[in-house]
Amino acid sequence: MEEKTVNFLKQTFSEYYKQNKSRIAEPSRIHEREFGYWPFDGFMQRHLSVTNFSTFIDELVLKAPKGVYASCSYYDDPSLPMEDKGWNGGDLAFDIDCDDLELKCKQEHDRWLCRDCKKVGTGLRPKACTKCKENKITVLNWSCTICLDAAKEEIIKLNDILMNDFGINKKEISIFFSGNKGYHLTVESSTYEKLDKHERREIVNYVLAKELDLKYMGFDKKTNFKDLLLRLPQSTEPGWRGRLVEFFENYDDSSLTNFSKTEKVARIYNSKNIKFNKLFEDGIKKVRSTIDPLVTSDTSRIFRLPNSLHEKSGLCKTLCNSIDSFDPYTQSVVLDNEPIKININFCPKFTLKGVSYGPYKTQTLSLPKYAGVYLMSNKLAQVA
């Protein structure tokens, strides 16, 4: 990124923190959390202890970092090296990223650029440049409304699992738009804060339905049909048993409409025409929540601070008070609309604050600051 562009972004981020001091809410248990920030022109600063949040915000205005973070974990002394901090527990934290969802729209809006011959291609990254066969490829992982709607669906499923299965109170759950490609969910609950890494990994496997074994759901090829009917769960049962059986009950097959729900499921299982294992996998994908497995079990990770700016978009990490109606491309746009002149390399179509922009080819034009910063943060434009 050109120095002129970096300086512009730095100035913009500094102004944001200066004008929005009160907007950035102080995290709970501030003395027990580790803080960190990542300057535009330096290395990540971690292991910071914050005693006065207002002073910390003043520091952000001064340093104008590209990312600001706080730990989900609580420590005796957050300023010490990791091994000496004294871990006392932590919020349960989940991350959903639309890049992990294998969405078809990525084929349409993602781009790759060969740094050698400058060829630009559409869709997922090839193993080598299709023109010069070199492997010097830069990828643009773009995201669109479809991507973020899909991520929203995953976070809603996660929220349901946490409330219904784990008994977590709605008041203990906070859902945030991450500021770029997905959502974060944190749980501040004394019931779960002491879970260690291994126990958190069990939570991850539960949410992902990883290692779910048909045998423990009553499905068994050795069982005769009559016994199978008795063993299969009902859709009213809690947890995965109920969820998956409901999925099978709703399977669309006209030859099975006259059977009772349980008999329909049993017949699907025994059918020679239906590939049950494939259907089972489809069912899991449909009802599970596709979280990032590494984030939840990593208790030493630091998370982007709510209401701080994301360096890859210029959008703000935003609390979603009502996830169903949340519009990330409107509600997380916090920079002003003062026009700025930028040189664009290329960019797919995007929508911010209800206004559609692009697609653009190489050109110079004036855009509202939030849109210009969005492109510059995505490395698709520079200050003219």
Binding site: G36, W38, M44, G67, Y69, M82, E83, D84, K85, G86, W87, A93, D95, N164, D165, F166, G167, I168, S178, H184, T191, Y192, K194, L195, H198, E199, E202, I203, N205, Y206, A209, K210, E211, L212, D213, Y216, L230, Q234, T236, E237, P238, G239, W240, R241, D292, L294, V295, D298, S300, R301, I302, F303, R304
Partner: protein, 360 residues
């Protein structure tokens, strides 16, 4: 009769579960000599109980007569004193294991009303019974009956215990979970808590302080001699341990495991991951766990293979860092450790592959 919550602990329960505080209360203020010199053969029964346990790995069965129930109730604390007096952790382990197996056998056929009270009292685990959980857990009684679920336990209490159980059956994803609780049958509940029953009995023995005068008592001395005469000797370590080559925490875990000392899960996990990373085979590591001290070889094999990434999701577990071991209270740092961050770096032998830390 003493009321614990809703259930009344009776004399029958005290002989079955002689570690209940109620038995201790009955003994409070009474001189140990009263039991040693009792008309009832309490000391003799304690000796037989220990010898049988050490030889057979389980406790003897007692007659159902009132006299025998009284003898067995009081012979347990006397047996604990005798075993403690041997000062041999191997014998303490063997006896605690035998007694815990006896308790397990009883619990499998116990009245479901008694079980929550027993576990609440001895392990401070809160359980609800199925008859109380229909409404609060939003499940039907048909579901509970069909699956023979008699209890529910809080999810965090479940996870801290199930994590060391190897079978897929115990993975949270394969359990019925609702409203923060996990449902269990009676047999599953006892399996889930079996390790703790053993640890509880073991701790009770280890915490005993033997009055010096008691060791001078002739009947005690003679009984102790008879026990030691027939007590099995600790097995020789199958693998020579050169503690100098291992970091002190790993050496400590190996030493404790092979002596039959009480080792926390974190110590066993450390030893297993370290030895696997140091190039030992799965079979070598399994051989480190003495089967005659209660380590079930099948369970140990599954756990070691799981840690080695051969079972389950295929995750190969890393050696926990020094900070983790410190947090788990299993750090035995010496000057030789220097500033290492992972036991693998001890003596500068093995570099630790660093995983990139991401921020979300």
């Amino acid at each position: 009769m003493i009321d614990i919550l809703n259930y009344i602990i009776g004399e029958d329960d005290k002989s079955k579960y002689p570690f209940l505080p109620e038995v201790g209360k009955q003994m409070t203020g009474r001189n140990i000599q009263d039991f040693l010199n009792s008309e009832l053969p309490i000391l003799e029964n304690a000796k037989d109980r220990i010898i049988y346990s050490l030889k057979n790995g389980t406790s003897p069965e007692f007659d159902e007569t009132i006299e025998m129930k009284t003898i067995s109730k009081y012979s347990f604390p006397i047996a604990m004193l005798l075993v403690r007096s041997t000062n041999q952790s191997y014998l303490i382990s063997r006896f605690a294991l035998a007694e815990s197996r006896r308790v397990e056998d009883i619990l499998h056929n116990e009245n479901p009303d008694v079980i929550p009270q027993i576990f609440k009292t001895i392990l401070n685990v809160k359980l609800s019974q199925s008859k109380d959980i229909n409404e609060e857990s939003n499940v039907t009684s048909e579901f509970l009956v069909k699956n023979r679920f008699k209890y529910k336990i809080s999810l965090s209490d479940y996870l801290s215990r199930s994590i060391s159980l190897p079978k897929n059956q115990w993975r949270l994803v394969n359990r019925s979970v609702s409203s923060g609780y996990v449902f269990l049958t009676q047999d599953e509940l006892i399996t889930l808590l079996r390790e703790e029953i053993y640890q509880m009995i073991r701790s009770k023995i280890e915490e005993l302080k033997i009055p010096p005068a008691l060791l001078e008592d002739e009947s005690m001395k003679s009984t102790l001699e008879q026990i030691l005469k027939v007590a099995p000797r600790p097995p020789k370590a199958k693998i020579q341990v050169f503690s100098g080559e291992y970091p002190p925490c790993v050496a400590k875990a190996i030493e404790m495991i092979q002596k039959g000392d009480q080792v926390p899960h974190s110590g066993k996990f450390l030893m297993t991951t370290f030895l696997l990373r140091a190039g030992k085979t799965v079979d070598d590591v399994i051989d480190m766990y003495p089967t005659n001290l209660g380590f079930n070889q099948n369970i140990t094999r599954y756990q070691v293979e799981h840690i080695a990434g051969l079972k389950g999701g295929g995750t190969k577990y890393d050696v926990p860092s020094c900070s983790t071991m410190k947090m788990k209270d299993f750090c035995y740092k010496t000057d030789a450790c220097g500033t290492i961050k992972n036991p693998l770096q001890f003596n500068g032998k093995t570099p630790v592959k660093k995983n990139g830390r991401k921020n979300s």
